[in-house]
């Protein structure tokens, strides 16, 4: 009888502690995406060099779509790494594409100049692309396969190993089971 009582008491305590631990260990800002495995929303982007680019024109190549802002510290953190990755991968049926959000044109251009970014970049002044991709914390990166399907999403900074492996998966049309997370900045 005493053991039973002890068991029930411990069960109740542990359940409450479990709920408490779960509540504290999850990021209240984190929003899981429903987009992995879905077709990437199409958009037309006016690039900083004046040209326009349609996402659907990139079919047949793996697309690395990075959404960023100049005021976001994690975006600055990864900027050089992305350019190095682009230099290494541009010959391999891969396109890097940057979408600047919630920023001024001047700040965005200064950022591109400062970090020596050479891959195509454009602005999303209305925020439509950001909402279409369910963006909430930047940098946010979407890996899109040659058929135009999102295979992986990463919220926050990413490095060469993830860029390389996830682009390789995108080229092979392998859809990741879940999204990744690094250090991020909530958008405004």
């Amino acid at each position: 009888m005493a053991w039973r009582r002890l068991g029930i008491t411990l069960l109740v305590i542990l359940s409450l502690l479990g709920i408490l631990a779960y509540g504290f260990s999850r990021d209240p800002r984190y929003i899981p995406t429903p987009l992995i495995g879905s077709p990437a929303p199409n958009f037309t982007l006016t690039l900083f060099n004046g040209k326009t680019l349609k996402l659907e024109d990139l079919r047949g190549k793996a697309v690395f779509l990075n959404i960023w802002a100049s005021w976001c510290p994690p975006c600055r953190e990864e900027a050089r790494e992305l350019e190095v990755a682009w230099q290494n991968l541009k010959e391999k049926d891969t396109v890097f594409l940057g979408v600047n959000i919630q920023d001024t044109k001047q700040d965005a251009q200064d950022f591109i100049k400062q970090f020596g970014i050479t891959y195509p970049n454009g602005r999303d002044p209305s925020g439509r692309i950001a909402v279409d991709y369910g963006v909430w914390g930047i940098p946010e990166t979407f890996f899109i396969d040659p058929q135009g399907r999102i295979t992986y999403k990463h919220v926050g900074t990413l490095g060469w190993p993830i860029i390389h492996s996830k682009l390789d998966e995108a080229r092979r049309r392998v859809v990741s089971a879940k999204e990744g997370k690094g250090s991020y900045q909530p958008i405004r």
């Binding site: 009582r5 230099q87 958008i187």
Partner: protein, 547 residues
């Protein structure tokens, strides 16, 4: 009919802009703002919420129904975006859980009440044997049955303890009645109940064989028996002890856990929109805090202090806002210009930083912070050693003796050395203060590398032997080929010059401890060491060790 229904949203839109605005507001009120804490898109002042409201407006104008607009946002942000999730799948649990909890609570109360009623004395005197009732009253008067052998095991011990408990209750009942705390009706009812229970116990006791002498040998006399009090603790206390012990354990564990989790997962709010949660455990550090709110106040001194505090805590947006506010009130304030210069220099806006320092120095030619800032920018980023020396020498004459003065002397010495070795010229020559290349692993050692481990890319000055490296980059769980770049940000001693010739070594460390070299570590040296900082294609093969 269906056609008519499908026309309803379009018709309702046609009634005027106010209706459209109202419809936008209604839909926005149902959507959760993705960057706020528990605010709807309608209530949030954030830029994203404004953009979402504009999208709702444009979709309604295109003739989409509110359901379609809601479905659009759900397809982008998931069910999370709905403040009232649809009662389907897992969300259904959220809707029914409160009712389940309510039903559970009611059942629990019913259970407790029933148990309480069952435990109340019951039975009428007519149902009990009059002889046994007489015996109960006799024993109660003579107190012969209150000795309880605590070490008597089995059913006999249990019954004896129960008998002692009932006698205690009867004695207390009598006392309460005599003291006028009970009505006669209640007293009689309860007394009959206890007596009936006691007679049942006596019956059971009589049916059992008598206890053996050793079992009864260790009888104890209850405390306070001489005063007519009963050993109420014999049966009741252990149960209470259990309850108290359980509560104490729960409170202790709860308190400790709460202390640990709260300490690790809460942080100070920097703004009303900021969350207090989400730090250590959730992996979002200080940089994930949203921009602070607009700073209010017109006291320049207070604003400067606030700006300096924010600057020291590296809260750049807050610092910038404070200094901008100062400058809006006093356009030539040297402190605000100097701090703005430092922030701009830190963000890489060298020319804007120099402009800010020059403004500060125009207002106050002896402004120490501006002299220091412009000197360092000229030296480190503009490669203008003469201009830098001029500023720092002036600063040297202004500062009192101390650590700052010493540091400036050291910087001036460093400038001299740099010029002597032609380092500054070299940095001018190279487009970038970086070393870049690709690291690969020898195919023979590829098999021993099972993934994981930490890769250290180490740069040591070519002229020095031993001592700390100039720069180290650490990469966890690398995959090869690995493209790397080593820059000023990877320097071990910030502030020293990242130029000249260095030896580059890479080590794939199995245990991840940079200070120990294990047997499984794989090492690679650049075959053309030493190399100039700024070189490209410094490709290294990991080809030593790994046994």
């Amino acid at each position: 009919m269906l056609w008519m229904l499908s026309c309803i949203p379009a018709l309702s839109l046609g009634t005027g802009p106010t209706d459209l605005e109202e419809q936008v507001r209604v839909i926005a009120a149902e959507l959760r703002c993705p960057v706020c804490q528990n605010l709807s898109v309608a209530d949030s002042p954030s830029e994203l919420a404004q953009q979402m409201r504009a999208i709702i407006d444009s979709q309604l104008r295109e003739g989409k129904s509110p359901e379609q607009v809601r479905a659009y946002f759900v397809s982008k942000y998931g069910e999370w975006v709905l403040l009232s999730p649809t009662p389907r799948g897992f969300s259904l649990l959220l809707w029914i859980l409160p009712y389940i909890a309510l039903a559970g609570g009611i059942l629990f109360v019913i259970f407790i009440v029933r148990r309480w009623v069952q435990n109340r004395p019951k039975g009428r005197p007519s149902e009990a044997d009059p002889d046994l009732i007489q015996r109960v009253r006799r024993e109660l008067a003579t107190e012969t049955a209150w000795d309880v052998a605590i070490d008597v095991e089995g059913p006999q011990g249990t019954l004896m303890r129960e008998r002692a408990r009932l006698y205690t209750e009867l004695r207390e009942l009598e006392f309460d009645f005599q003291a006028g705390r009970l009505s006669k009706l209640d007293y009689e009812e309860m007394r009959h109940g206890y007596e009936a229970q006691a007679t049942a116990i006596l019956k059971d006791l009589d049916a059992l064989p008598p206890a053996t002498p050793p079992q009864l040998a260790a009888k104890i006399a209850p405390e306070g028996r001489e005063n007519g009090q009963l050993p109420s603790s014999v049966n009741v206390v252990p149960r209470r002890v259990w309850i108290f012990a359980a509560i104490a354990i729960f409170l202790l564990i709860f308190g400790v856990t709460l202390g640990i989790f709260l300490g690790k997962s809460l942080r100070l709010r920097t703004s009303p929109e900021d969350s207090i949660t989400g730090d250590f455990l959730t992996g979002t550090g200080n940089e994930s805090r949203p921009s602070p709110p607009e700073i209010e106040g017109t006291d320049i001194g207070a604003l400067l202090n606030r700006g300096r505090a924010a600057f020291e805590q590296k809260q750049w947006p807050q610092a910038i806002e404070a200094f901008k506010k100062v400058l809006s009130m006093e356009a030539n304030h040297p402190d605000a210009h100097a701090y703005m210069g430092l922030i701009l220099a830190g963000a890489g806006h060298v020319d804007s930083a120099m402009l800010a320092f020059n403004r500060a120095l125009t207002s106050d030619p002896n402004h120490a912070l501006a002299l220091w800032g412009s000197g360092m920018v000229l030296f480190r980023q503009k490669d203008d050693a003469n201009g830098a020396r001029q500023n720092l020498k002036k600063l040297l004459t202004l500062l009192p003796p101390g650590a700052h003065k010493e540091q400036i002397r050291k910087t001036l010495l460093e400038m001299g050395k740099g010029e002597g070795k032609g380092e500054i010229k070299q940095t001018k020559k190279t487009a970038d203060h970086r070393i870049q290349g690709v690291i690969t692993i020898d195919p023979k050692l590829q098999a021993t590398h099972q993934g994981g481990g930490i890769l250290f890319i180490i740069a040591r000055r070519a002229a020095t032997q031993g001592g700390p490296p100039l720069a180290v980059k650490r990469i966890a769980s690398p995959t090869f080929p690995l493209s790397y770049s080593l820059s000023k940000e990877n320097m071990m001693i910030p502030g020293s010059s990242f130029a000249g010739r260095v030896n580059i070594v890479v080590r794939l460390d199995k245990d991840g401890d940079p200070l120990t070299r294990g047997a499984g570590d794989i090492i690679g040296n650049y075959h053309k060491n030493p190399v100039e900082i700024g070189s490209q294609n410094v490709d290294i093969v990991l080809n030593e060790g790994g046994q």
